[in-house]
Amino acid sequence: MSTLEYDGSFEGFLTAIFDCYAQKKTDVRIRNACASTTTLFGTNIRVRTDTEKSNRVWEGLKKRTTKEAARQFYCNFLSELPDFEDHLLEYARYVFASREDVSRDFSHPAVLRTAQVARMVGREKHRMEAFVRFQLSGEIYHASIHPDYNVLPLIGPHFKSRYADQRWFIWDEARHYGLLYDLEHLQVVHETPEETQADTARTSDYARLWKTYFQSTNITERRNMKLHVQHVPYRYWKYLCEKQPL
């Protein structure tokens, strides 16, 4: 078995799929070079990211399936789940081997898996759109998150259109990068802006008012902590000001 190592980018991954076909490899797997551990057996081949190759794969996928299927494919990439590369390679092989659009053949394991993972990633995206809690420092609204999957690229447009008239910044603590909106453009940054590092310990009046509201709107006679935790899992609590002692 040989292992194709790509640079961790989506283009790199698509290039690796291209190379599987170009080199007529069947007994192959694709791994992120930054994350992979060296294998004892088999050969490791470094993939050179090539946008011409990656575009061909991407356009081919879109041509044979639908826009929705392409979105699901990308969501699977962002899931960073173990072995997602194997599943997507199997999915791509099935798509390219079929004459008709098979992206809705849910009785095929690779298709079903892709749809299911895309749904998990979609749910995490939705959660982050819900659970981001901005605080205002100087003139910038900023928040930190720790999503299960790499959903930052997916949530940018939502926040951009909603908070078009305020500067904001969202930092992914798990992956150490952030999104910054400067009233004009969205940009990916790898360091937190200076002004957001000041007075993070101080809780604003609005955060405390929000907690007051959160407690007053609860109906104690209907207390149902199981349901509460199901909707707001413990791992997100530290980012929610209403769940903090204030």
């Binding site: 098979v102 809705r104 053949d105 849910f106 009785s107 095929h108 394991p109 079903l112 749809a115 939705h126 759109e129 819900a130 659970f131 981001v132 809690r133 901005f134 605080q135 205002l136 609204y141 928040a143 939502h158 259109s161 909603r162 908070y163 078009a164 008239d165 305020q166 009046d205 609005y206 955060a207 405390r208 008012l209 929000w210 007051t212 509201y213 959160f214 407690q215 007053s216 709107t217 609860n218 109906i219 104690t220 006679e221 209907r222 207390r223 149902n224 902590m225 199981k226 349901l227 509460h228 199901q230 909707h231 707001v232 929610l240 209403e242």
Partner: protein
Amino acid sequence: MNYERITQKLSILADAAKYDVSCSSSGSKRSNPDKKLGDSSGMGICHSYTEDGRCVSLLKILLTNYCIFDCAYCVSRRSNDIQRAAFTVEEVVDLTINFYRRNYIEGLFLSSGIFKNADYTMERLVRVAKTLRLEHGFNGYIHLKTIPGASEELLREAGLYADRLSVNIEIPTDDGLKKLAPEKKRDEMTTPMQHISTGIVASKEERKVIRSAPAFAPAGLSSQMVIGATGESDLEIMQTADNLYQHYQLKRVYYSGYVPISNDQRLPGLGSPVPMLREHRLYQTDWLMRFYGFQMQEILHPEYRNLDLALDPKTGWALQNLHLFPVDVNRADREMLLRVPGIGHKSVDKIVAARRFRSLTFEHLQKMGVSMSRARYFLLCQDKNEVLRRAPGDRTQLRNVLIRQAHSKYRSALVQQGSLFDQADETTGLSATAVPDLHHLFADSL
């Protein structure tokens, strides 16, 4: 901002508003073309959940809890000795904007106790919405409660600034309303509903021709009723709901299990349990009517006046209509698949898409997420699974098997009420895990 003062008002006026259950923030198409604040064109978002498990999507408050009415089921009733408070228009606007900017909420849900008179109150509510829209360029979601008896002009104006309007029907039966809220008249609720409904339809028509015409309550009209306060049957509740859907094109009807708040003789006393399971079954029925193609009369009728608390209403319906089953997964149309217990919209979509490629088996369905513990008794698949062909003997027996298999979160509540199993079950001696071997139920259809 006077922080202490606002905190006090917020805790009083949020507490008084919490019995209004609507938290929906979807269905509007208000986007943000001018790069101002807010966008409600996407799906609604629940930003948090309270410890009772209900979603928090909107800042839900009363403008004031002073009220000239004395409705027995309401905490803000005139005769109740509680702390009273009132927000100014500016205070509500400031809270809404600042909560919204921090991504705490999708928008505002504003209701009010009735002070002075209906129009005076309604005018204030409208002014909040108007200020948010016109002075702050706010495109977040606004839900305004209409005050019974408010004038048509004010309703019209409210619809221009709000995404959703609601008129609470309060109590499902007219008799109950007379008993608990003698000062309120049914037609003071239905008249505004008629105005709003007409306004929504007219605006939709107009916007087909002139796209820039102003939208009128684009997220529709909704209503709410308290259940379990007046001894009404599920049939009466759903008849009222059905009537609202049919005649006023309501987007949603909400069912609010009565939370005991007083020792008024006319109502369940303090400490009586909130009918949460019943409320859940009513919502399920509501969903069947709105999304699953069921007529109200199919689920509840004069011979079947109350839902089976132990089973969901679709399973309840299927048990009453065993002659329609089993359904062949590979041939049945969408409408019939939607009627199979344990299969929802997502599963139907997957089934219909996937069966073009190959005949589906029991295992395929399981992997796609169909709830086979229920569906297996009502389905036929490619592999003609044995279990499917051997459904339990009669209706009572099948019902008991289904209840045993369900790991219902309400199980303990039901056992306490002693209504879990029909008496007939005592004699069958089925164990919880055994798959019964009974051939004759579907004999006719095989």
